[in-house]
C-alpha cells in the first residue's frame, strides 16, 4: 500500500464513531485471548489509525496484553441490524487526554440510544463505567466484514465502504 494512503475508507468513519457496540480482542504472550468492551472510537485524520477508548476499570488485562504483544483486533457492530466490521493491525496503549473525555461521554449517550432501540433501558446501560479510559491506538492494516453470515470474516471490499 502506498505510504500515506488511508486504510479506513471515508465512508466508514461515521459508522465507526457512532454509538454502536465496540468490542476489543487482545492476547497475551501465552496466546490467551481477552475480550473487552470499549467506550467508543475516533478515527485519525490520516485515515490510517483509530483510537479505541478502553474503560480503565475493566480493561487491565487487555491493556497488559497490548503492552506485551502490540496486537489487537476491534470489532464494531450496530445492534439494530448486526452490521459488523473488524479492524486489525499493530497496536499500542496510551493514556487518555482530558479533552477526549467529551468523546467518551458522547459515545456513552449514543450507545444508550442504540440499546434503547432494541429494548435495553437507558437506566441500565447509562451505568456503563466509561471514564477514565486508556486509549488503544491501532494502525489499521486490515478490515473485515463481520456481519453474521456466509461472508463474515472476508476482507471488506473497498468500494463497498466508500
Amino acid at each position: 500500500m502506498p505510504a500515506g494512503e488511508r486504510t479506513i475508507p471515508e465512508g466508514l468513519v461515521a459508522y465507526l464513531e457512532s454509538g454502536i457496540s465496540v468490542m476489543v480482542g487482545t492476547r497475551g504472550v501465552d496466546l490467551r485471548p481477552t475480550a473487552l468492551r470499549a467506550a467508543g472510537a475516533k478515527v485519525h485524520a490520516d485515515g490510517r489509525r483509530i483510537d479505541v477508548f478502553l474503560p480503565r476499570a475493566t480493561s487491565q488485562r487487555g491493556v497488559a496484553d497490548v503492552r506485551a504483544t502490540g496486537r489487537a483486533a476491534v470489532s464494531f457492530s450496530r445492534p439494530i441490524d448486526h452490521l459488523s466490521i473488524q479492524l486489525k493491525g499493530p497496536a499500542r496503549v496510551r493514556e487518555a487526554r482530558e479533552d477526549e473525555r467529551a468523546v467518551v461521554e458522547a459515545y456513552r449517550e449514543a450507545f444508550c440510544e442504540q440499546l434503547e432501540i432494541i429494548g435495553l433501558p437507558r437506566t441500565l446501560v447509562g451505568r456503563f463505567a466509561a471514564w477514565p479510559t486508556d486509549v488503544l491506538e491501532i494502525e489499521v492494516t486490515a478490515i473485515f466484514t463481520q456481519t453474521p453470515g456466509p461472508t463474515a470474516g472476508t476482507p471488506l471490499a473497498a468500494e463497498a465502504a466508500r
Binding site: G25, P55, I80, H82, S84, T145, T147, P148, P150, A152
Partner: protein
C-alpha cells in the same frame, strides 16, 4: 471452585449479545460477538457454530477463548475463560441448540441455509464478575424486565393436573387447562394446536389471553415452518427469549446471504405466531411415546418471560395433557356415532368465560370420514375437501350431529361455492405457506359413509388423524 451455573440465568438467554475473543496459533487476536451461551453444567458451556468463521478456525488451532457476557436484568458483565473441549454434531445438547436456530432460520426464510453445524462445548477455566463495569448506584435500579412471579409452584401444578385429570371432554380439557395455566401460573397468552398429518399442518384449536378477534382459532401453521411448525416437526421444546433479537440476527444473515448470491435458496419470511408484540415464546410438543398429538404454546411480551423453570413446569403439564388428549380423541372417535358433536374449540380473552368457537375439530372429523373410505381413483391418504359441506364459522349446521351432516348429499351447485370468509387470524396464518392454493384438491363427492369398523379405527389410525 468453578460453578458457572451460579451466574444469573438471564445471562444464558441470548437477550444481550456477548463478546468472544480468540487467537490464531500465530498470535492474531480476533473479537466478535455471539448471540447466546448455553449452560451445559457447572463447568461447561456451549457455543453454537453456524458458520466455519474465524472464531471457529482459531479455536481449532488454539482452543482458548474468552467471553464476556451480560445480565440483561442488571447489565452486569461476567468474564469466562474457556477451553474448547469437544464439538458435538448430534445428541441432546445439539438438538436443543439446533431447534432454536432452525426455528429462527425458518422464520426468516433461511431454512437449510442458516443451521447449526456443531455445538462447541467449552470447559470453563475461570469465571469472574467484571467489577467496575457499572458505575456505583445510590438508589435501587428498576429491573429492565418485570420479575417473574413463581407463585406456589407445586400447588399450581396440582391444580392444573386436577383440571386435566377431571376433564370429561376435549373442550373442558383444553379450556380448563389454559385457564388454570393463566390463573395459577400467570401464563397470560397460550394456545393449543393439533396436527393434521396428511396436510402437514397444525391447527389452533384453543387459545386464551387473546383479544376476541385475534384468538387465532382455526389458524394454520405448516409443519416445519416458523417457530411452532419447527416445534412440531422436530418434536422438541423451543424457548426463545427476546425473539426480536434473534430475528434481527437472522435477518442480518439473510441480508449477507442475499449479497452472497444465495437468494435462490432463500424462502419468504414466516410471521411469528400470536401476539404481534410478543418477545418470548415457549413451544412444547405434546408427545405420546414419540408421536406428536399437539403443541402447547405460550408467549409473553416480556423478553425474559420464560426461563428454564417455566420450560420444566410446562413440560410436566404437557406430558399429562398429551396423554389425556390422546385418550380423549380415541374415545370421542369411538363414541361419535352416538354422541352429539362438541364444539371443542375454545377461545377466551382471559377475563371472561371460554366461548364455543369455530368448529375446526368438527370439520376435521368430517374430513377424516371422507378420507377413511378408499377412493379407487386416488389411492393413498388424501383429503377430499368439500367446501360447501364443511360447517363454517356461522353455518346453520354447526351443532348438528355429524352423522346427519354426513348424510347430506352434495349437489353440483354446491361444488363451486366458496366457503365462508375465514377468520382474519386463520387467513394470516394461511399466508405462512407461500403459494398455498385454497381448495387445491378441488371439490369431490362425499362418500356414503364410514367404512371402517371401530377396532380398525382404534388400532389402525393414528389419533392425530382423527382431526381430519
Amino acid at each position: 471452585m468453578i460453578d458457572v451455573s451460579k451466574l444469573p440465568s438471564a445471562c444464558f438467554q441470548g437477550v444481550t449479545p456477548g463478546i468472544i475473543a480468540t487467537c490464531s496459533k500465530d498470535g492474531e487476536p480476533n473479537a466478535t460477538y455471539f448471540s447466546q451461551v448455553f449452560l451445559v453444567d457447572r463447568t461447561h458451556v456451549a457455543l453454537s457454530c453456524q458458520f466455519f468463521n474465524k472464531t471457529r478456525r482459531n479455536v481449532a488451532e488454539n482452543p482458548r477463548a474468552h467471553v464476556q457476557l451480560y445480565d440483561p436484568v442488571t447489565f452486569e458483565a461476567y468474564d469466562l475463560d474457556l477451553r474448547l473441549e469437544r464439538s458435538e454434531t448430534s445428541g441432546p445438547l445439539f438438538d436443543a441448540m439446533a431447534v432454536r436456530i432452525d426455528a429462527i432460520a425458518s422464520t426468516t426464510g433461511m431454512a437449510g441455509v442458516f443451521k447449526l453445524l456443531a455445538a462447541d462445548v467449552y470447559e470453563v477455566v475461570a469465571v469472574e464478575k467484571r467489577e467496575g463495569f457499572l458505575l456505583p448506584c445510590d438508589s435501587p435500579v428498576e429491573p429492565s424486565f418485570p420479575p417473574t412471579d413463581y407463585r406456589s409452584e407445586l400447588r399450581a401444578l396440582q391444580v392444573v393436573s386436577d383440571r386435566v385429570h377431571r376433564a370429561r371432554s376435549l373442550e373442558e380439557l383444553l379450556g380448563s387447562m389454559l385457564e388454570a395455566l393463566q390463573q395459577e401460573m400467570g401464563f397470560e397468552h397460550a394456545m393449543v394446536l393439533l396436527p393434521d398429518e396428511c396436510q402437514g399442518r397444525l391447527f389452533t384449536v384453543a387459545s386464551r389471553g387473546y383479544p376476541p378477534r385475534e384468538s387465532g382459532i382455526g389458524a394454520e401453521v405448516a409443519m416445519g415452518k416458523g417457530l411452532l411448525g419447527t416445534v412440531a416437526s422436530q418434536k422438541r421444546v423451543l424457548r426463545i427469549s427476546s425473539v426480536a433479537q434473534d430475528v434481527r440476527y437472522g435477518r442480518a444473515i439473510r441480508g449477507a446471504a442475499l449479497e452472497h448470491g444465495l437468494g435462490d435458496v432463500l424462502s419468504p419470511e414466516i410471521p411469528l405466531p400470536g401476539l404481534p408484540d410478543a418477545q418470548s415464546h415457549l413451544g412444547i410438543p405434546l408427545l405420546v411415546q414419540d408421536r406428536l398429538v399437539g403443541v402447547l404454546a405460550v408467549e409473553s411480551k416480556n423478553a425474559l418471560g420464560f426461563q428454564e423453570w417455566h420450560e420444566s413446569f410446562l413440560g410436566v403439564v404437557a406430558n399429562q395433557v398429551a396423554l389425556a388428549l390422546d385418550h380423549m380423541l380415541v374415545d370421542e372417535a369411538d363414541d361419535e356415532e352416538e354422541k352429539p358433536p362438541s364444539s371443542v374449540l375454545v377461545a377466551s380473552d382471559g377475563g371472561g368465560e371460554a366461548r364455543p368457537h369455530l368448529p375446526v375439530l368438527q370439520e376435521r372429523r368430517l374430513r377424516l370420514r371422507r378420507r377413511r373410505v378408499p377412493d379407487p381413483e386416488r389411492p393413498g391418504p388424501h383429503l377430499m375437501e368439500a367446501p360447501s359441506q364443511l360447517p363454517g364459522r356461522a353455518a346453520p349446521g354447526l351443532h348438528e350431529p355429524r352423522a346427519a351432516a354426513r348424510r347430506q348429499p352434495r349437489s353440483p351447485a354446491d361444488q363451486g361455492q366458496p366457503r365462508e370468509p375465514p377468520h382474519p387470524a386463520a387467513e394470516a396464518a394461511r399466508a405462512e405457506v407461500p403459494g398455498r392454493a385454497p381448495s387445491a384438491d378441488g371439490p369431490r363427492p362425499l362418500p356414503p359413509g364410514d367404512g371402517l369398523p371401530r377396532r380398525a379405527r382404534r388400532e389402525g389410525l393414528r389419533v392425530a388423524t382423527l382431526f381430519r
